[in-house]
């Protein structure tokens, strides 16, 4: 138990014990790391395997080939780059709009006192307990009906999908955001108000700059989760050129999984790369954002 060791006085025997303990733990770490990164290594290897099939792959390919990546670039039988772009676009727009909606609403909840405020806050939280996934059928039917009248937000449109994502934007996020805003002292607002500032000015000039770090974290978490969302996009998008990367790759891999393994791997790697990079660079902030809201209290 590591946290105990550090409190013991460094007698000679104990220093030896500590070395053994670290050694054992390093071995454990090694085993765990193999478990952790093997699938990733395997995909990397598959993406450079020139034969591109599941059956012929070895961890270290006999000879490297970029054939799978060339196939991706050529986008012969499937529009990979289109999907990739769609995903980046949809996740980006959703993340920015959702952040805007929640921040503005959270400000009202944090700074104004009005009748029904508590009830609304609780209701928003409770409503979001009902997972979007569960209302999938209803959402699908509704979007098909809307499609008959307002086709540009109907089935198979990115606008429709983004609106459905935004329908779930208020929820836990509004609580998180309001929590952060509550930590900004009200004295700031009041002195600004005495000088004649409007609520909107206070919000944009005073509160938003103070919250910038957490806003960025929430936007990134939103981005990552939208980027990885599968089932709503799967149900609402119908044609190949509208698919997001997740839908496209899932359908692409669904047929002839074996032969397409290499190309799939190359696509999965490129698709995963932006998110992995974001995570590894910002891991502390993201972890903080993910856990903080729920842990406090």
């Amino acid at each position: 138990m590591s946290e105990m060791d550090k409190k013991q006085k460094p007698f000679k025997s104990q220093s030896a014990r500590r070395k053994i303990s670290i050694g054992v733990r390093l071995i454990v770490a090694f085993v765990l790391i193999i478990f952790s990164i093997f699938p990733i290594l395997w995909v990397i290897s598959a993406s450079f395997n020139p034969t591109g099939s599941l059956a012929t792959q070895t961890l270290i390919p006999a000879h490297l080939g970029f054939g799978n990546y060339q196939q991706l670039a050529a986008s012969g039988d499937f529009p990979f780059w289109r999907w990739f772009f769609n995903s980046i676009k949809i996740a980006g727009i959703t993340s920015v709009l959702s952040l805007t909606i929640t921040t503005v609403a959270a400000y009202a909840f944090s700074r104004f006192r009005f009748k029904g405020r508590k009830t609304m806050l609780r209701a928003i939280l409770l409503i979001q307990v009902f997972p979007t996934l569960l209302a999938l059928v209803a959402t699908f039917l509704m979007i098909s009906q809307i499609d008959d009248v307002i086709p540009f937000i109907g089935l198979n449109t990115h606008a429709g999908l983004i609106l459905v994502y935004l329908g779930g934007a208020m929820g836990l996020n509004i609580w998180l955001m309001k929590g952060y805003m509550d930590t900004v002292p009200r004295d700031i607002d009041e002195s600004a108000m005495v000088e004649g500032a409007t609520s909107w000015q206070i919000f944009t000039k005073l509160i938003l700059p103070l919250l910038r770090p957490i806003l960025i974290v929430i936007a990134i978490i939103n981005y990552i989760s939208t980027y990885g969302e599968f089932i709503l996009a799967r149900v609402l998008l119908k044609t190949s050129e509208q698919y997001t990367l997740m839908v496209g790759l899932q359908i692409f891999a669904g047929a002839q999984f074996d032969q397409r393994w290499g190309v799939f791997s190359a696509g999965a790697l490129i698709g995963a790369l932006p998110i992995m990079v974001i995570y590894l660079i910002l891991q502390d902030q993201i972890v903080g954002g993910l856990t903080q809201g729920a842990v406090k209290g």
Partner: protein, 531 residues
């Protein structure tokens, strides 16, 4: 939202719109918006989408009130979010609740109004309807025309899909009439003699004329007008067969005769708690459903324990400030968490592929045997749990190490003085304190796995399939993936009503757990806490 008071209450409300012009702009924008929404609503109504039209109307009304009533000012800040939430979250929930009380699904996809319309279009050829003598004409392209003469000697000309006309000889290509009052020629058509006409295989199947007046050949001598087969009686909500007088009464969305014959199409009807009854008592469903529910809870529970245990173990092992390569180890260990899960589930599916996948091949080589990950129900379950462990232990590792650092050293010092060993310190100090900190996250995680649709659906589609079930079900299916199959895989007919009912059941399970969590974390109290 009756009263809104500004902060501090010491000045006049600073948040009210200041200028007349800004107020005017709001009103103009609102009018334009209302006009657009009004048009959309009218379109929905004309298409028969009444619930959606009502939802749009209610939302538009609320938006108008929020934007025009001064007291509702705070709500203006969240009007976009509220509209989106109402439309894309609340409406689908209410719709799901409504559907759960109906038979919406295969054979019951349209409203009663529409179904009645369809049924009223059905016609039949009665024995005693108005009769005509007929002569057939055939065009070169194979179209038919009928020259009809009724009992009073009045002639008519009937073609497919066109209004039955009273022809004038000499006009519109109609030639001279012969002794029987039948034209010798009609332009573009060839007159058929009675033998040809009587033996023509098509003739007796053709419906001449248009919908409101249709004529069909009944015998070589006679053609007759078809009449509407069913008449709807709105008072009793029954269909009456005009041919034999059978009364078809509305039985749960299908017009059925006392002897069990039914009229198609059926329609959406309220069937009360029938779907829920089926969920709880239907003997055919009970077998698969009980297994799915048991597996659903076990999967969520086992996953939680395993994932948390591994995450915690790692956190404890490397929670040593001086541990070599700590940062690198952590970065490598969170890798599974950084890749979109959908992609890695597909990768695992490839790696576990029997014969071709790397894991199966390595095991074959090492021990000469590989588990049938996809075809055996138990190994499929093991595979799902292993993949889930890989996907989520990094999350637990991260939250556990965060929580570990928040435990004050004094506790350990005190335990040290009391002579506690490492094992005791872990179970008596570390674990209980940690549990307090991460408890709510564990509950969220359980709820998440309870509905972990992506993993189940993408890895194996819930397979392997159970044998002899009334609706498709698999051994690794959880409730939510089972619902998805009911609603979207049409192989045995979609059943939205039943799917919605199960959805409601899931909601109650998840809702109860979440309410416990809210109370546990005192989330409710947070509302009144600040300022």
């Amino acid at each position: 939202m009756a009263s809104s008071t500004p902060l501090g209450n010491r000045k006049k409300p600073a948040f009210l719109p200041k200028t007349v012009s800004s107020q005017l702009i709001i009103i103009i924008l609102l009018l334009v918006g209302d006009a657009a929404v009004g048009w959309v609503i009218s379109q929905f109504v004309s298409l028969g989408y009444t619930p959606l039209a009502a939802a749009f109307f209610a939302i538009a009304l609320a938006v108008n009130i929020i934007l025009l009533v001064k007291k509702a000012y705070p709500l203006r800040w969240m009007v976009a979010g509220l509209v989106l939430m109402a439309l894309f979250t609340i409406y689908p929930i209410l719709f799901t609740v409504w559907v759960s009380f109906t038979n919406y699904g295969e054979g019951h996809l349209i409203t009663e109004e529409l179904a009645i319309q369809h049924i009223l279009e059905i016609k039949y050829l009665p024995e005693d309807s108005k009769a005509y003598s007929w002569t057939a004409f055939k065009s070169d392209s194979g179209d038919y025309a009928l020259w009809l003469i009724d009992a009073e000697g009045q002639p008519y000309l009937a073609t497919e899909g066109e209004l039955i006309a009273q022809p004038v000889p000499g006009q519109a290509g109609i030639g001279e009439l012969d002794a029987d009052g039948i034209p010798v020629t009609i332009e573009g058509y060839q007159r058929l003699n009675s033998i040809l006409a009587a033996t023509d295989p098509n003739l007796s199947n053709i419906l001449f004329g248009q919908e409101d007046k249709t004529i069909q050949v009944r015998s070589p001598q006679e053609a007759a007008e078809l009449v509407q087969k069913y008449v709807y009686d709105p008072e009793r909500d029954v269909m009456i067969d005009q041919e034999d007088g059978t009364v078809y009464s509305n039985l749960r969305g299908t017009f059925s005769s006392p002897t069990g014959e039914v009229l198609k199409p059926g329609f959406i009807a309220n069937i009360g708690l029938e779907n829920f009854k089926r969920f709880f008592v239907s003997p055919a469903l009970r077998g698969p459903l009980v297994r799915i529910i048991v597996w659903n809870f076990s999967f969520a529970g086992i996953s939680l324990v395993l994932n948390f245990a591994l995450g915690l173990l790692i956190a404890v092992l490397f929670n040593d400030p001086g541990f070599p390569l700590k940062k690198l180890i952590r970065s490598l260990l969170i890798v599974p968490y950084t890749v979109p899960a959908l992609l890695t589930i597909l990768v695992w599916r490839g790696m576990l592929n029997p014969e071709l996948g790397v894991i199966s091949r390595v095991l074959e080589n090492l021990i000469g045997w590989a588990p049938p990950w996809f075809t055996d129900q138990w190994w499929a379950k093991v595979a799902v749990i292993i993949i889930n462990l890989w996907l989520s232990y990094p999350y637990f590792m991260l939250i556990s190490s965060g929580a570990l650092q928040s435990i004050p050293d004094e506790y350990y010092d005190a335990a040290q003085v009391d002579g506690a060993n490492g094992w005791q310190k872990f179970w008596k100090i570390t674990f209980p304190l940690l549990l307090v900190a991460v408890g709510p996250l564990l509950i969220s995680s359980f709820v998440f796995n309870f509905n972990n649709f992506n993993l189940i659906y993408i890895f194996n589609g819930g397979g392997p399939p159970m044998a002899n079930t009334p609706t498709p079900a698999g051994h690794t299916d959880i409730l939510i993936s089972y619902v998805y199959n009911l609603a979207f895989s049409a192989s045995r007919g979609v059943d939205y009503g039943f799917a919605a009912a199960i959805t409601i059941v899931i909601f109650f399970i998840v809702g109860t757990i979440t309410l416990i969590q809210f109370n546990y974390t005192k989330m409710w109290e947070e509302v009144s806490e600040n300022v």
